[in-house]
Symmetry: C2
């Protein structure tokens, strides 16, 4: 083998990305003032900075939106900027898809499209959008450093100083992750900010990672996604919450956890200070949380249940409350929350005992999906947390509790708990023969059906009928029997018999409320520590400031 | 439920961490100059800043060591500072364990103890060290944000400015992660730096996250851990490398990957520009890497195989080479590498097609461990990457290739490839009846045996005999048969028969070199693109500067 011949094959430049960046930046020198793009020049600047076919990370984030920049991108001339490869964790705003209709963008890698799921499904079918893959958040962040590294990042922050240092306030979220991947591979980072200032309260992203800032015409869009009004919590939610606390949290000694957003988990949060207290569980369970700042967690925090909460993002209205509770929340020297979606997803995947989620459909083996016909909502973060991380090696009581065998080589399991009522709204059974996701996947030509949580990862299912301890099921058949036994009067539920249920109860594979000493008649709204948004404000001593749409006063 | 009664239960302070921090910092005001602790006052400062029982994250990192700070911690008066809870990803230096003998520290949560594994096992048995848990790196980082949040972080950087902004150069590694978890929960962050300077080349960690900097008496310790001298690559490694390229990389279309460190993977890296080229695979496989800057990857980079490499950490001697290849490596505006161990672990777990590792022992079902009797080395990062991430939802050819069933609900698998010679040095069989890890775990009273990679996550095993395609095995029995068929003359290997091997070959569950069109006689050292460190320097055009211990000239 002649090495000199091999090396001589390669007379390439190793700085093509850096040179391209320099060329693009040179083009806007007449438009910009140092690092600042004038607000009214943003469209022109994007047309100069972005090349056709570039990979663009646009901060469509779960909560905050780089809305000024996405509007500007939607106004560029498609003759100049086209065929972009968009990398976005969340498709949230109309222009996130408009740019595909105009030909500005062509290829899309994303995680979540909740607000645009119907249109997304149609546009994929029409071929207007070509989907690379659908990810969980954490997978997408990983790929930013592997094969989806952006040429351009369009992100949002609260404030910038003259050096381009960024302050994000409570909504740090995924901005540092996007910026890091872009900045350190000679991409161009453009941040919209609500204001320019001389001195920042703290620095969330160093100025040496940022190329341009632009003051937006109005503050970035921010949605309150994790606020659940306690008035909508039903007695069924409360019953299920009591069963979960008694039959899962207490039984398995759950210390650390993530709650998906929903009324079932909101019920649990509001039952800890009342029902949980009456069981003597305060200080014994549910101490460390990977969670957005759920307003419904306020009573548990105030009554001393919670040691820590690390947050994926912020929550509108919770800013002052969080800032006043630095023992509990991660806050900066400026006093406000520091969230970090990437590290909170790592924590939620690897560092907590339990994930509690919900779903719209579940098949007889525990596979579930929130995808319904005609809607392609994507995954978000749930599958990342709602799965057993096989790489986990550290143990906890709850994790070890999932071991059922006697082998010398074994490992624990993360608790993946699904809470579902047996029927959805509109009297549709949750338990189905076949998930809609299968057909949606076929229609959209996805390589696999978009299953949110796979049955083999689910350890517990809670319905209003009882709990199925799926981790104890000996095989697929018993898994199905256990689910049928708590599936009520759905078609699957009707397959079960009194004898079968009795045997499963005796083997501890299912439990009914009476097995857990939970009285159905106790499941009253009076058991909730807060029964309205107003109550939550009271609990917070007025620190929680709910957005107008949640106020009744 | 009387809400007012509940709220009144809680008349606590919510700022105890912040107040404690302020008290501790007030105590050192006479010692420090602003944010700077004078070098000769560090022991005194630590005695004032650290409280007995504090949780301390000391940057014993896989590569760089906060060696000045660990020495200083080892000199504090145990009457003043004692019973610390140490959180360290890597136990590398003697004083990392000395502090336990002196009573300065008591409890330890860690990931890796390679260099101190013998002493670690002894000290656990003696009760000198109490182990919380042993983690992979990523799990430990996750827990920093959940239930192992430090009160004190002792970290290392290259340079600081007067505002406490830190520059890490290529060895950013896990420093930002430790600092973020500590700084944003009112912990105290102390960074040793090699120098103070007026202007930093770039900012890796903002000054508003850092409380104190101290100029160390000498630069922090940095080890070259990922350098493998090609002279030590044997023909057996080359044969196995050829089989892996042909029978796995090409067959499954592996685009993105992580290589563990070892001579088998070094052989593959050095075969890509020669053997791989001859197969026409350039530009078709192995394009995106999550990898430390392995010197043995230089020839593949130079001959145009590699699109990108994201790095966990730096590698001594590779600084100038990496800086000259910004199209490939993630580099900053200062031109030098930006590594990030947390995000590279995320990428290595979730965003790549394949992990290739090695091990010292493997049982008949594919469970493996590098733990041997009397040594407790911990996990490092391998189990995180050497496992199938059940939360993955995006697909790739390789991932989809692992699907063997026909069900409508299914998912792909990450390729977890183990490359082992059938015998270790000293003629010990690699394939064993029972892993030493079982006894080590029992002796150290660990809750589970310290298995590095579980058999159910392993998709392929390569020995000098052939490849076992374990993902195709129908059941545990066939898995064992496949391993036996490639286990050579080990006791397990002798259980196999010619008939059984033939049947497994026909079913594609195993392949021998001839099945892959790999000629044993071609497996010569002349096939390596570099056969010495010297050759690697040549390939790099003199940019690679190997440490003295690797030089023969």
């Amino acid at each position: 083998m002649d090495i000199s011949k091999l090396t001589n094959d390669s007379r390439r430049s190793w700085t093509t990305r850096r040179e391209k960046k320099a060329r693009q930046i040179a083009k806007v020198q007449k438009l910009v003032n140092g690092q600042v793009i004038p607000t009214d020049k943003i469209v022109e600047a994007l047309e100069a900075l972005i090349m056709p076919g570039d990979c663009v990370a646009l901060e469509g984030n779960n909560q905050k939106q780089a809305s000024f920049l996405s509007s500007a991108l939607n106004q560029v001339n498609p003759d100049k900027v086209n065929n972009l490869h968009m990398v976005m964790s969340s498709i949230s705003r109309p222009e996130h898809l408009d740019i595909f209709e105009k030909g500005i963008a062509k290829l899309l890698d994303f995680s979540f499209a909740g607000p645009q799921s119907l249109r997304m499904a149609q546009m994929i079918e029409d071929g207007t959008v070509t989907v690379g893959s659908i990810h969980t958040y954490l997978e997408l962040y990983g790929r930013l450093f592997v094969d989806l590294t952006p040429n351009i990042a369009l992100v949002a922050a609260d404030k910038a100083d003259a050096q381009g240092n960024l302050y994000t306030g409570p909504n740090t979220e995924e901005t540092p992750t996007i910026v890091e991947a872009t900045a350190f591979r000679d991409g161009i980072v453009i941040a919209q900010v609500n204001e320019l200032t001389d001195e920042l309260p703290r620095v969330d992203i160093p100025g040496s990672w940022v190329d341009f800032v632009v003051v937006s015409d109005k503050p970035y869009q921010l949605e309150a996604l994790f606020t659940r009004d306690p008035r909508q919590i039903s007695e069924m939610h409360i019953l299920m919450g009591m069963m979960a606390i008694r039959g899962i949290y207490e039984r398995h000694n759950i210390q650390s956890l993530n709650h998906g957003v929903g009324f079932n988990t909101a019920a649990i949060e509001l039952l800890l200070p009342t029902y949980g207290e009456s069981l003597g569980l305060k200080g014994r369970i549910c101490k460390n949380w990977a969670l957005n700042p759920h307003p419904t967690l306020i009573p548990a925090i105030e009554s001393g249940w919670v040691d820590s909460v690390h947050c994926f993002g912020g929550e509108v209205g919770m800013e002052k409350y969080v800032a006043a509770r630095p023992d509990i929340f991660f806050t900066g020297k400026d006093g406000s929350l520091r969230s970090n979606r990437a590290m909170c997803q790592v924590a939620g995947q690897y560092a907590v005992d339990a994930f509690v989620g919900s779903t719209l459909q579940m098949d007889a083996y525990g596979n579930s999906s929130t995808v319904t016909l005609g809607r392609l909502a994507g995954y978000g973060g749930a599958p990342n947390m709602g799965s057993d991380p096989h790489g986990r090696r550290h143990s906890s009581d709850a994790w070890l509790n999932m071991i059922t065998g006697e082998s010398e080589i074994q490992r624990g399991k993360k608790l993946v708990i699904q809470m579902v009522e047996t029927f959805q709204q509109g009297n549709k059974p949750v338990f189905v023969e076949s998930l809609d996701a299968i057909k949606v996947g076929q229609d959209a030509k996805l390589p696999i059906a978009p299953v949110m949580v796979y049955g083999d990862d689910v350890t517990h299912v809670v319905t209003e009928e009882g709990i199925a301890y799926l981790y104890k099921a000996q095989n697929e058949e018993e898994r199905k029997q256990a689910l049928a036994a708590i599936a009520g009067v759905t078609p699957l539920g009707k397959e079960s018999t009194a004898d079968l249920k009795q045997r499963l109860r005796e083997n501890g594979v299912i439990a009914f409320p009476e097995d857990l000493k939970v009285k159905r008649t106790d499941a009253k709204r009076s058991l909730l520590a807060a029964r309205s948004i107003d109550d939550l404000v009271d609990w917070s001593g007025g620190l929680y400031e709910p957005p107008a749409k949640f106020r009744s006063w």
